[in-house]
């Protein structure tokens, strides 16, 4: 009886899955066009899955192995089942393999089930709680129905009235498994993540973030530019259908593992943001309906079930509530911790900035000080509204060389808006001292420099960002330099990763028509030290920890250089629990201090608490925002010092003949003339 029932079951489930897939694809296709090389993406899929995705999943070995056993077992079992039971190819070899695959899947599903006993808060419940049972039903069911095929069970067992009953029960178990695994995969069940996730990997909007066989960087963090020339193109995302189709596909790939939620600084601070819920809300919006079925942690302070949306309705309501409240979007610090942790490679920050763009550019609703800051950027080219002619006032006694006078130098020192901030001016002075000690050929733009546009862009004001970017590029194009050095990771990121879209013929870094070669001051100081151009007195202070700025670390992958500098200073870094790519944000990014969405705690307080737990008496930083945020913490247990300050304090006169060069590489001295001529 099973021989007739199984093919019917299998092919019905497959047919339903195909219908569901078509419906799901139509949901994604509501989005705006996005150019992706479909074939190339599909070819790259195995590598993206096995290398890049596994790299993220593999951070949790237990879950990684569980997934390999379960998913690998399932894929093999599903294929073999179609052959063996669907098409009736009762080959004992195939049958044996099928037994093996379903057994592997069953073992995996036991571990999945174990994780669901007292699951951590970040995991979604609801349908996800039944998934291990469905996995077991499928694997066990397939295993049992395959036993007779390979002759491990007497053929007669399933005959007679008892056999009938057994066969029926087995068919029922298999039907349950097929329902979850085939039908549920395309009709919105938990297994949707496999279908949408695979296609999302193949058609990802940022193909560059994946590694290649040739060893690509695998990092793509610059925001995508809005086309402001085309007046018909929407300015940002108003409704779910304004996302590109592959962004919508990406939202659908979410497995609701909540790793993003666990690392989100805004969520931890009790601000109304949870990256996982946001992605689920986008899925709700794409399909239409209410968020009542969501079974994970809500946005802090916002009960589930009060918001609803539709593909062509506004995401943020003009009045009342629709899908998401504006303060949810403005809580994000753009620290990218969620993107870094996401095993499905979903781009949360892109989506948030897209929606912010609509709020700012179309509605003029940047909250709190947002409007004032943007007005200042338009009128004075700096967010504080200071006289642009006073950018160099802090250095009145330093006699800094100006690009306008020299035209050509090795290093262009980009000051950033910290030049107007008295705290950061101390860092800048320290940095100048270091550069002079190392006899670096450098100059500053002085009053010709403008804000890099970082804050404007992250507040959604793409127009002001592009205006600033284009004028800065035009200024930079007047001069020749080998590299830009800055102590501001935000300027660093924008100059090196986001200006590229606006470079015109003959503009750009040392080799024209390419991105600028930008160095964070910690990287540059590390290079100077390696070249033997700096000598330090031994460290006498107390214990030190290092706080990784998001825009240096996660955005640009620079975790090593600051630590190398600290090591060179004789400091042994006491790492915080969350450091490196898992560093917790200081709360200063993405315009968050400007939009200032209230929460239960402050993000910098939590970070200084991390510092306290590390036991360090001093926290070394490398970003003016981090300095300001961390120093603003009352009753802090540690002092906050920029790396440049620590280096400047430790400088000693270089001994003649450069004696102390044990572990250092010889200087690679290239001058500007050699390269540019």
């Amino acid at each position: 009886m099973l021989e007739t029932l199984l093919p019917i079951l299998i092919f019905t489930a497959l047919a339903l899955a195909v219908i569901g897939a078509v419906r799901r694809i139509r949901l994604w296709r509501q989005g705006r066009p996005s150019r992706v090389n479909l074939l190339k993406g599909l070819v790259a899929l195995p590598r993206r899955y096995l290398v890049d995705l596994h790299h993220v999943v593999g951070r949790d070995k237990m879950i990684s192995n569980t997934h390999v056993a379960t998913a690998g077992g399932f894929v093999a079992a599903a294929m073999l089942m179609i052959l063996v039971h669907g098409l009736g190819i009762a080959n004992p070899l195939l049958g044996g393999l099928l037994l093996l695959a379903s057994a592997s899947m069953f073992v995996g599903s036991l571990f999945v089930a174990r994780r669901r006993i007292n699951p951590p808060a970040r995991l979604s419940k609801g349908p996800w709680m039944r998934l291990p049972k469905s996995l077991m039903a499928f694997s066990l069911g397939v295993f049992l129905i395959t036993l007779p095929t390979v002759g491990l069970l007497p053929e007669g067992l399933l005959e007679g009235s008892g056999g009938w009953l057994l066969a029926l029960v087995l068919a029922g178990v298999v039907a349950w498994g097929l329902g979850e695994m085939f039908f549920g995969m395309t009709w919105g069940g938990p297994m949707k993540h496999a279908f949408a996730g695979a296609l999302h990997l193949a058609f990802h909007r940022r193909a560059e973030r994946f590694s290649t066989k040739k060893g690509g960087t695998g990092r793509s963090t610059g925001l995508k530019a809005l086309n402001l020339e085309d007046e018909t193109a929407p300015l940002g995302v108003e409704k779910p259908a304004d996302f590109t189709w592959n962004q919508l596909l990406g939202f659908d790939a979410c497995v609701q593992c909540g790793r993003c939620e666990a690392v989100c600084p805004a969520f931890a601070a009790g601000q109304p943001l949870n990256p996982k819920k946001l992605i689920q809300d986008m899925v709700v919006g794409m399909a239409g309906g209410s968020d009542a079925a969501y079974a994970g942690s809500p946005y802090p302070g916002k009960p589930v079930g009060e918001h609803a949306g539709s593909p062509h309705g506004p995401i943020v309501a003009l009045e009342g509530k629709t899908l998401v409240d504006a303060e949810t979007l403005w809580s994000c610090t753009t620290c990218r911790a969620c993107v870094e942790e996401c095993p499905m490679m979903i781009e949360h920050v892109d989506a948030i900035v897209d929606m912010r763009r609509h709020l700012t550019l179309e509605r003029g609703k940047t909250p709190n000080k947002g409007a004032e800051v943007l007005d200042n950027l338009i009128a004075t080219d700096n967010p504080g509204g200071f006289d642009p002619g006073s950018r160099l006032n802090w250095a009145a006694d330093l006699n800094l060389p100006l690009m306008a006078d020299l035209k050509q130098v090795d290093v262009l020192l980009w000051l950033g808006d910290g030049a107007f901030d008295m705290r950061n001016q101390r860092t800048l002075r320290a940095l100048v001292k270091v550069l002079r000690a190392a006899e670096v050929d450098f100059a500053v733009l002085g009053n010709e420099e403008r804000d890099s546009g970082d804050v404007a862009r992250r507040l959604g004001d793409e127009a002001t960002f592009q205006s600033l970017a284009k004028r800065n590029i035009a200024t930079l194009a007047k001069y020749r330099f080998l590299q830009i050095v800055t102590c501001d990771p935000h300027s660093f990121h924008v100059l090196s990763n986001e200006y590229g879209d606006f470079l015109q013929e003959g503009q750009g870094g040392p080799d024209f028509n390419a991105n600028y070669k930008v160095r964070h001051h910690s990287t540059f100081i590390a290079e100077l030290y390696d070249a033997g151009r700096l000598t330090f007195a031994p460290w006498k202070g107390g214990s030190v920890t290092y706080h990784d700025p998001c825009y240096l670390g996660r955005y640009n992958g620079e975790y090593e250089a600051p630590r190398r500098v600290l090591k060179a200073l004789g400091i042994e870094v006491k790492e915080m629990e969350r450091s490196g790519f898992r560093s917790r944000c200081c709360g200063g990014g993405g315009g968050a201090p400007i939009t200032d969405i209230p929460g239960e705690r402050r993000i910098p307080d939590m970070r200084m608490n991390d510092v306290k737990e590390s036991g360090a008496e001093l926290v070394a930083v490398g970003c003016p925002q981090c300095t300001a945020m961390l120093e603003g913490v009352v009753d802090a247990s540690a002092k906050v010092r920029d790396i440049a300050e620590l280096v400047a304090d430790a400088l000693v006169e270089c001994p003649v003949g450069n004696a102390s060069g044990e572990s250092r590489r010889p200087a690679a001295t290239t001058t500007a003339e050699e390269v540019i001529v």
Binding site: L235, G364, T366, I378, A379, T380, F386, P388
Partner: protein, 269 residues
């Protein structure tokens, strides 16, 4: 905007806002003038009023961008009366207002460029024969052609006034801050251009302009014996002792009193 939910319900109120091209105090870039923008904000917060923007002047590229930032507050159109450079815009504005016959005309207290004398609203009121009110802080209600408004006085004082419409009101920094200028509406907004003969301001043509110097501030000498004295000195009202309240006097007597005061302060020789 809680105060204007229903007072204007009977008929649609039409409000005209006179806007000018402003100038940023630090960078001198063209921008929306702060007071004018507050006037637009006031008009937009009147609920269901039909708001029209009018600018009379010469419209170069930087000033177009500045005018667009009024449109960015959420208006679809701005009426632009083309005038040659240095023209006296009063006749053109007066003619436009007579045609359009709005119930209420709002404008900033003074322009940030050009003469900036702050006299335009008064002279328009004189030409049109409408009442004028300065320092409008809030429109409380408009009923039966009478508006009840709050006028801002120094030190946060407010005075409730009832004025007959049509009227002209000026708005200064005591009015609510203007809303954000959004890029999208600013880009989409349109200019309804009309030409009007330019009246050459002959008087102004004879003047020469030079950048203003900062006026020296009168020193406030605080003879402080204690912290309490210093606090009192800092928090005290500006000393208005020695002032003179004149009421029911002839214009000649008033002018005489002002003349005496100016002489006494060494403003006039």
């Amino acid at each position: 905007m809680p105060h204007n939910a229903n007072p204007l319900s009977k008929m649609e109120l039409s409000v005209a806002v006179l806007v000018s091209v402003g100038r940023h105090p630090l960078t001198a870039r063209a921008r929306r003038a702060d007071h004018d923008a507050r006037a637009v904000e006031m008009a937009l917060s009147l609920g269901n009023a039909n708001v029209q923007l009018i600018h009379a002047g010469d419209n170069g590229a930087p000033s177009e961008e500045a005018l667009r930032s009024y449109l960015g507050m959420g208006l679809g159109e701005i009426s632009l009366i083309k005038q040659s450079l240095g023209a006296d815009v009063l006749p053109a504005l007066a003619a436009w207002l007579r045609d359009a016959a709005p119930h209420l005309v709002l404008t900033g207290t003074r322009a940030e460029t050009g003469e900036g004398s702050g006299l335009v609203p008064y002279m328009l009121a004189e030409i049109l024969g409408w009442p004028v009110i300065s320092g409008l802080a809030q429109v409380e209600s408009i009923e039966g052609g009478i508006a009840t408004v709050l006028q801002a006085l120094p030190r946060g004082k407010r005075r409730r006034l009832r004025i007959r419409l049509p009227a002209i009101a000026t708005v200064d920094s005591s009015a609510p801050v203007a809303r954000q200028n959004a890029f999208g509406p600013a880009r989409r907004g349109e200019f309804a251009t009309r030409t009007c003969a330019s009246a050459i301001d002959e008087l102004q043509a004879q003047w020469s302009e030079q950048p203003a110097r900062k006026r020296p501030k009168r020193l406030k000498i605080v003879k402080s014996a204690s912290a309490r004295d210093r606090f009192k000195a800092a928090a005290a009202k500006a000393d208005s002792g020695g002032g003179q309240l004149l009421s029911d006097v002839t214009p000649e007597q008033g002018a005489e009193a002002i003349f005496t005061l100016l002489k006494g302060e060494d403003v006039l020789g």
